[in-house]
């Protein structure tokens, strides 16, 4: 046998006299071109080859693998996100997150850093150091820089979107006519069907020539 683990099984079963005879008959039939005799002798010869067995407990392992497993609970799922109808749950979670963020932003805008000074004695040392370092001017400056950067990004996006829109219009204009639209749709349909057919053909065609380099 080919596998290293099965060599012992093969050598452990010696051939007896009739099989040696079958070998001789087979080779003689092959030389004489007697196909039916050759087939019979070879079947007799190879029928005597030992069949390697899978390791003990194979059937148990197969059955254990074949039985449907109970779905394991997903430990990481948040309790307030419903298991079924997940879209609604995630929408609710996103809304809550957005509200919390908005409240945080409003609180930061309404309560300047100086208003946190009364909490100063209660805050940890690191927070106290940050509060000491911060002042209204610095916060305002950072805010203005952020607004300017956002404005620049927005302008660039608008310019790009405008160019994209022009391109889409240029492409869509001919498609608005019925013959061109029908032709394009037909071409796309044929391409999709051909791709699907080819994929299925390759998947179904399990010939060795496609997996073996020889």
């Amino acid at each position: 046998m080919e596998g290293a683990g099965s060599d012992d099984r093969v050598t452990a079963m010696p051939f007896d006299e009739p099989q040696t005879d079958a070998l001789n008959r087979w080779l003689a039939a092959e030389r004489s071109g007697l196909d039916s005799d050759s087939e019979a002798a070879l079947a007799e010869l190879l029928g005597g080859l030992p069949r390697p067995a899978p390791p003990a407990g194979f059937a148990d392992r197969v059955l254990a693998r074949a039985r449907p497993r109970a779905a394991a609970p997903r430990a990481w799922r948040w309790r307030w996100v419903p298991a079924r109808g997940g879209a609604v749950g995630w929408a609710a979670a996103a809304t809550i997150a957005a509200l919390v963020s908005l409240l945080g932003l409003l609180a930061a805008r309404l309560a300047p850093v100086s208003s946190l000074k009364p909490l100063h004695p209660l805050a940890p040392a690191a927070v106290r150091a940050m509060l000491d370092a911060a002042n209204v001017a610095a916060v305002l400056q950072a805010g203005i820089h952020t607004v300017v950067a956002l404005g620049e990004w927005l302008a660039a996006t608008v310019v790009f979107a405008n160019q994209l829109l022009l391109l889409v219009r240029a492409v869509a204009e001919p498609l608005a006519t019925l013959p061109v639209a029908a032709l394009t749709g037909g071409c796309l349909l044929v391409s999709a069907l051909a791709l699907r057919f080819l994929y299925d053909l390759i998947q179904r065609d399990r010939r060795w020539v496609y997996v073996d380099p020889i």
Binding site: G3, S38, A43, L49, R51, W208, I214
Partner: protein, 204 residues
């Protein structure tokens, strides 16, 4: 009286795990041996053989009881093996890697004088020589040989398993027999006259 394959399948479809276990026990050796001959790795072969039986368990309803169960199962095994090899992109005939003799299987087949009959008998015997010759066949020939001469399938059944025309199967088997015979003679087996014609014998 032992239940037939079709009866065991029917029992399995009614939910009897014992019946399916009997089917597994009945066919584990042929399926495992076929896959092992194709992938040449015992661990992979066992894993794929398990996969074959799991697929069979889950798709038992698609089996047509008018046909031979072994053919259906071998077809599943063939498809599973091919799909695995497609994914893994393995070389199924690593001739050069089979170097337990130092020179590799390819070297033994290519050099008739590499192994005299006496040495072969001492070390491996005829079974090993035959397995070596089978391993040296192209995968499509090897599979057809195993299905036909080891498992005893008919041409029609082999056609169904391999999805090949009968003419192709017959041609493959004919060529495989020729190659096997040549490999056995090259390894020093066969009638003395034939060996003497094909081999330059080494003096001890």
């Amino acid at each position: 009286m032992m239940p037939t394959d079709a009866e065991l399948v029917a029992s399995s479809l009614r939910g009897s795990d014992d019946a399916f276990r009997d089917l597994v026990v009945r066919f584990e050796r042929p399926v495992y041996a076929l896959i092992l001959r194709m992938v040449r790795d015992p661990e992979t072969a066992e894993d794929l053989a398990q996969e074959v039986f799991v697929k069979a368990y889950r798709h038992l309803g698609s089996y047509d009881p008018r046909r031979k169960f072994a053919s259906w199962l071998f077809k599943v095994a063939h498809n599973t093996t091919i799909d695995h090899l497609r994914r893994a992109e393995l070389d199924t005939v690593p001739l050069a890697a089979d170097n337990d003799e130092g020179g590799g299987l390819l070297a033994v087949l290519a050099d008739p004088a590499a192994e005299s009959p006496a040495a072969a008998t001492e070390r491996h015997g005829m079974a090993r020589a035959l397995e070596r010759a089978i391993a040296g066949l192209r995968p499509e020939y090897r599979e057809a040989v195993v299905l036909r001469y080891v498992e005893g399938l008919t041409y029609q059944e082999i056609c169904e398993v391999l999805r090949l025309p009968e003419g192709t199967v017959k041609t493959n088997l004919h060529r495989a027999r020729k190659e096997l015979a040549a490999a056995m003679r090259a390894a020093g087996w066969g009638p003395v006259a034939a060996v003497a014609e094909t081999l330059p014998r080494e003096e001890p």
